[in-house]
């Protein structure tokens, strides 16, 4: 993984991630979220996690984003009108996130492993789709089936929620 690739992908991810919460137009926010997730997928691939990177593009940039845009256009949201900002809540939010990030930065700075480079992979290691698949259907077979039931329950829940009148 070359440093230039890492910094370009992470800058892409962070700039468009910030654009998600800065934009006042919800459609622009949703499209910024797609670009941010593409940068994240590039970071996954720079970590040799190709399967997770592909899943990230398929699920987030594909399915989740279409869902967000669909809902935004269904509700016909326009650019939200400027409201009076509650300055106490705004300053509190900024302060809490600054303190949180400072704390995180201190913890990462103290981590001994954080300054070590990544160890090299063996040149002939098997591809990661095979390894993840073996684990998924072997060790994690029960959680995998439970996830299937969870998705079924979510589907039924969405259908019940989106009926015209709730009883």
């Amino acid at each position: 993984m070359s440093p230039a690739f890492f910094w370009i992908a992470s800058a892409l991810m962070l700039v468009f991630g910030a654009a998600v919460i800065i934009n006042r137009n919800p459609v622009a926010s949703a499209l910024s979220l797609v670009v941010s997730f593409l940068g994240l997928a590039a970071l996954f691939m720079s970590l040799d996690a190709f399967f997770v990177g592909i899943i990230q593009v398929l699920v987030y940039a594909g399915a989740v984003m279409v869902l967000f845009l669909f809902i935004i256009m269904l509700l016909d949201l326009r650019v939200e009108e400027r409201r009076r900002i509650n300055f106490v809540a705004f300053a509190g939010g900024i302060a809490v996130s600054t303190i949180f990030f400072g704390q995180l930065y201190l913890v990462i700075g103290r981590l001994r492993q954080a300054t070590q480079p990544f160890p090299a992979l063996s040149p002939n290691h098997p591809d990661d789709v095979r390894q993840v698949g073996l684990l998924l259907f072997g060790n994690y077979n029960l959680p995998f089936q439970i996830i299937g039931v969870l998705i079924l329950v979510a589907t039924v829940g969405v259908i019940v929620l989106s009926r015209r009148e709730l009883r």
Binding site: G17, V52, T115, Q131, L150, G157
Partner: protein
């Protein structure tokens, strides 16, 4: 040379962006997108640790990547249900501003 600390730093920055989005924005759909950003920041640090813990055969720790797979699946289900709740809320109250939805406050 890119180290584990760089990935954790970027992941923490992404989490902070999502966190401040939840605290600062009042549009419930944007808050939902910020939640997705936070979930993905956690995924990034999991994958970075997976690549860092190389075992004796020279393979990364794939258990973390399976965990990321589960997180992505649960997040997708959560998005579907959450957006359906938002649509039901909009039908009932004609608003998606969290400041206007204060029935349970106090």
């Amino acid at each position: 040379m890119v180290t584990l600390g760089d990935y954790l730093f970027v992941s923490g920055l992404l989490f902070t962006i999502g966190f401040s989005g939840v605290l600062l924005r009042r549009n419930i759909i944007i808050i939902f997108m910020s939640l997705e950003l936070m979930l993905n920041a956690a995924n990034l640090s999991l994958v970075a640790f997976s690549r860092f813990r190389v075992d004796s055969l020279g393979m990364p720790n794939y258990h973390a990547q399976v965990f990321v797979f589960f997180i992505i699946t649960v997040a997708a289900a959560e998005v579907a249900v959450g957006l359906a709740v938002i649509v039901a809320l909009y039908r009932a109250r004609r608003t998606i501003h969290v400041e206007d939805i204060n029935t349970l406050k106090f």
